[in-house]
Symmetry: D2
């Protein structure tokens, strides 16, 4: 009975709130680079976002093609065609998402901001504050260093306040989201040695993008498991920057990513050593407290093993914390959908914050299981 | 601009309609047998259906367990516990779904109907009108033959009118949905020989259910492809009954199902011979005309090859029709998500019709791709 | 006891035979185009073939690279490097395999034959006798029509005698092998209508090759099923040519290929209508008789459903024949590993025949299951 | 030219050696419990082992069934039927493999040894020397503690000498093989802190066996990644025992296993901290030296990332060693096929050693790729 009325009431409230937004807050949205996996995922989400009007999607290569011809899953939901970036009137949008390869957004963001358009960059162009560090890892000269310092790193669980006021967001990478959310409570509480952190991470193949490459062919990646980038991966400096900010001092991280034969999902297995005077800490409570007000971070009951499919298609990060054999090593298990909380979903979460919408608006999808 | 306003208008209209329903039409829903794949899929859909209040979910084996403990994907969406069927107050519901093995619904439906509860049976108990035929294929004595004649076969594209007034629905099987929707225009238009129909169908492994069995283990079913049930499969009489009704005479069908290493999805490849005087027929137009008013049947442009992932997680059936080399053989390609249009989604579509809700309410999910 | 001695005796006999070959018949083998899947599969097989000495493997793109650097699976088995085709001394070989894209072998075969080298072409250059038909389907002008008539179509179960004396072999396509072996007994025995044959075929993704393309990416092809090439696929004329030869008149075939999310394997589901005066035929016996002397065609017991994994990594074709509900439609199920019996294994079987080796030499691998 | 003659010479030598064995060393082999994945893998290997005569395969449940009816992949290779264990004349064998669940071998080994039969147990019954430790982890009373002390732990890379003389072998677990081979050089050379070892391991689903269970169903395990057993897994004490023996003192290990959606393969990602005075060590040389005489351990070139498919179907363990950013943390990557080097292949390797056969006899399979 209780459930019945509460849901009805919720629905009613939702509708009134919804109507209010409709009259005031419908926003015009553009997407630059809509042909990759983060692009099509943005489309999936934004096509049903109640406050969003999709205005333009650019693609140099597919200009003129109907979006739903490339992605038949969007038939009946998206009626736009891809537009050549030169001809796209992005400056008429309220917000533009960059779902582009690295190196594009940094050349176009300035002009959009000057036109009063807000920007969320899903690529890595604005994530690293240290320009020379960025240039070293990404192998190019940064075209717009001055915006890097303005850009807010879009991890709402850390930077919610700044995001709300931001003009430009550097949307976090997929691994960095899962890894930082997993380590965050431990580092904030100063209970682990920050010089020997280990992140053993596993990603579904969609994390490698929709580009035609041999190593991500089905016949190469299926029924196979491997690590890659062990000597150094671009998400390492991003994670270190974020966690060092939290720690208030440089942290040291060994980061080993792996490719696993599934389409979506990231599983981060994190290892940290408890500092010797903190061995009595109640880790379960620490994590539950830290995330009790976070709508998209779900701390599982003690003893749990989160599965990537438990977040498939949704914006959740589910976390469990273990201390095997009661020893000094803490093991944190953190899962996300790399295309949602690890990319497009988090971008929409940031958009919601920037425009004063409810943070969960349009990203309440129930995970698809099985 | 057009799109912008039309969407806003749609949203506004949606909200008003929605509010209206909230005041009048919130219905109480029960699920019998909520631990299988059709059960959890019903939960995924119903948990966000605006007019539904989930009241009770039964499971003899898992009674007392929180639903979201068995299915962590439902955390924050479903707060019920499984209830022992003996103790479940199903008669307080407006509608009860049976997501049970065959042979359960036929023993419990009568009592619920008598209590004024409507019933949608996702199992096969009420699908076959010929009781002895049913008993032969299902290997048991039917407990409730008199309800079989009352039950409406819940394929809205054929029986929409009757469904609206029905007390009890026999929800179609997964293969029968994809196969019948594919053959329907050809048979209605009487353009093919109904004595030599062939349905070569392929199903994802979830179609076999969540029961622990060796042949559906990952290590058995992955990287493998096989047919099964070639001498005779239970969906054969169901399809024949449906298509014979449409044809107005008995049809003959060769039906060969296959197991394919994916989780969700059905692909039906259908073959029919054009009758000699109908070789000028415009098949593309025939299909488009037949389904122009159907919200969940999407006829693709000529020359298309529908992919199962283009409907993953959604209630769509996408269809393409070919006539290779301009010959006498018509090839129809029909895809669905076996758990949605092939089971839970179609059940909710039927529920919407029975309660006068918009037919698409709560089942507008955009397919998940990739 | 019997088994024990017989195996010992077999082993002893094998060794003597083996020694004999070593003194007389060790052959020098070259591979043109060793970087694709048929290339690496040839390497896997030939590296352990007792009568083969691998002399040269060409690749324009990878010239200079150690073969086992590209394919670490071959470490300790293949110590060659890829050689630029211009510099490869292919004319010193006894036999050269072309594991190249279409259009290469037809330009190089003549010179090799003139130098006394035998040729097995795994591409399609010499498969179709009708040059204009070939040019229509393959979209290029044939560079060497005169060799097409000399080339023997390398399906040993049909052309064993001619293969033994051949200088040049057109190794069959993967679908054509599975489809022809499945239809062969029916057509030879003249028990089915050859004007309404249907081949509904499913292939693992390795059949599409190792070229970087979007549609065969893991994230596109996994958890997905689709047909392709329904209006016309290049293997259609190849199958029609072969079966028409057998029938002694043109046959008509509807051929629908599908892509299934597994790496290796082909499953052909074949449909044919019994001619009205042949409905008493014992199909099981027909198939068993036809293949009783074939080492690589395995007719399963009546009622069986062959699985692709039952031939994974091996040169077998396993076949079952059904007649559902005792009707007029015969259903044949035929499975192969597309890279072995469908390509490299059959090529080695042809090589064995050409050089007078035991037909099974070096291709006796037990299938990998699971 | 060199290669040609050397291969011919090798083949000739092989044949003479082979003949010698045939006259003297053909051995009679029995398998207890042939219906699981380690059982069928033993059959795949032993069916082509030149010195083995398969005499008997037991299965209580499948007694009377032809082995190749359960596993059609073995048609033409294995002509035995499963025999009831009570009726199997195992005492006539030279060696018996136990491919049984835990708790069987410990009840039957004594009698076989007394009859002069050698035993290789692929289950865990004889792996842990500390009986109470074993009983704690395996939840049963050990039926035969006295044999535990006699049994040799069958990791040839450590215990080759003792294996040659052993009557009974405890064949290592799949994870323990990959993990110990990866840590071995570091611990033997005393260059890492043995109190903070971490093994983050990933297994294909076949590691969970062929038992019907929900969590290993295709629809549960596919497109999904999860850890399990983080609080404690039975392979932890086995690894600790082995590495502690090598270290000469108790080591401390955090062991986190994961399930990855592939059939075969283990990937162990190992982390260890270099002791402060050993930071100049040449790790690549250390590993290459340690394994230079090991036929089945392949140390990859510096900078490599071994893939599980590079060992699929073979008895290799491939290893790479990294030191990211030149820091204090060593990362070792170690891959095996869990059913071969992790189970049946290693068992045959042990058998070869016990009977004085060449160590690689019958287990030289080239890995299957793709």
């Amino acid at each position: 009975m209780y459930l019945y009325f509460s849901k009805a009431a919720f629905q009613a409230a939702f509708c009134f709130v919804h109507l209010f937004y409709l009259l005031s807050d419908m926003i015009k949205v553009g997407i630059v680079g809509g042909t990759g996996y983060t692009g099509v995922e943005l489309l999936r989400i934004l096509a049903q976002h109640p406050n969003v009007s999709l205005k333009v999607i650019t693609s140099r290569q597919e200009a003129g093609l109907a979006v739903d011809e490339l992605f038949p899953s969007l038939r009946k939901y998206v009626s736009l065609k891809f537009v050549d970036p030169e001809k796209a009137k992005l400056d008429k949008c309220d917000i533009v998402f960059f779902a582009t390869p690295n190196g594009i957004a940094m050349r176009q963001a300035r002009e959009l901001l000057d036109a009063g358009v807000r920007v969320i960059d899903l690529s890595a162009d604005f994530r690293i504050k240290d320009i020379s560090e960025w240039e070293r890892w990404y192998g190019m000269t940064h075209a717009c260093p001055e915006l890097v310092s303005e850009a807010i790193y879009g991890l709402p669980e850390i930077n919610r306040k700044q995001i709300k006021k931001a003009r430009i967001i550097a949307n976090p990478g997929c691994y960095p989201t899962a890894v930082q959310l997993g380590f965050l409570p431990l580092i904030e509480a100063k209970v682990v040695d920050t010089n020997s952190l280990i992140a053993d991470t596993k990603s579904g193949v969609s994390g490698a993008g929709r580009k035609a490459e041999v190593h991500t062919l089905f016949s190469e990646a299926a029924d196979n498991f491997k690590s890659y980038g062990v000597p150094g991966h671009r998400h390492l400096p991003e994670i270190c920057q974020g966690l060092s900010n939290v720690a208030g001092k440089p942290i040291e991280l060994t980061f080993v990513p792996h490719l696993t034969p599934m389409i979506r999902g990231i599983h981060a297995t994190l290892y940290a050593r408890l500092t010797s005077n903190k061995t009595k800490i109640d880790l379960q409570m620490l994590f539950e407290e830290r995330y009790k007000n976070e709508q998209f971070v779900d701390v599982l009951p003690a003893g749990s093993h989160p599965e990537t499919r438990s977040v498939r298609g949704s914006n959740y990060c589910r976390i469990a914390v273990h201390r095997p054999q009661g020893g000094q090593t803490v093991v944190v298990l953190s899962v996300t959908d790399n295309l949602v909380k690890g990319a497009a979903g988090q971008a929409v979460q940031n958009m919601n914050l920037m425009f004063g919408f409810p943070e969960t608006l349009g990203i309440e999808h129930v995970p698809i299981l099985p």
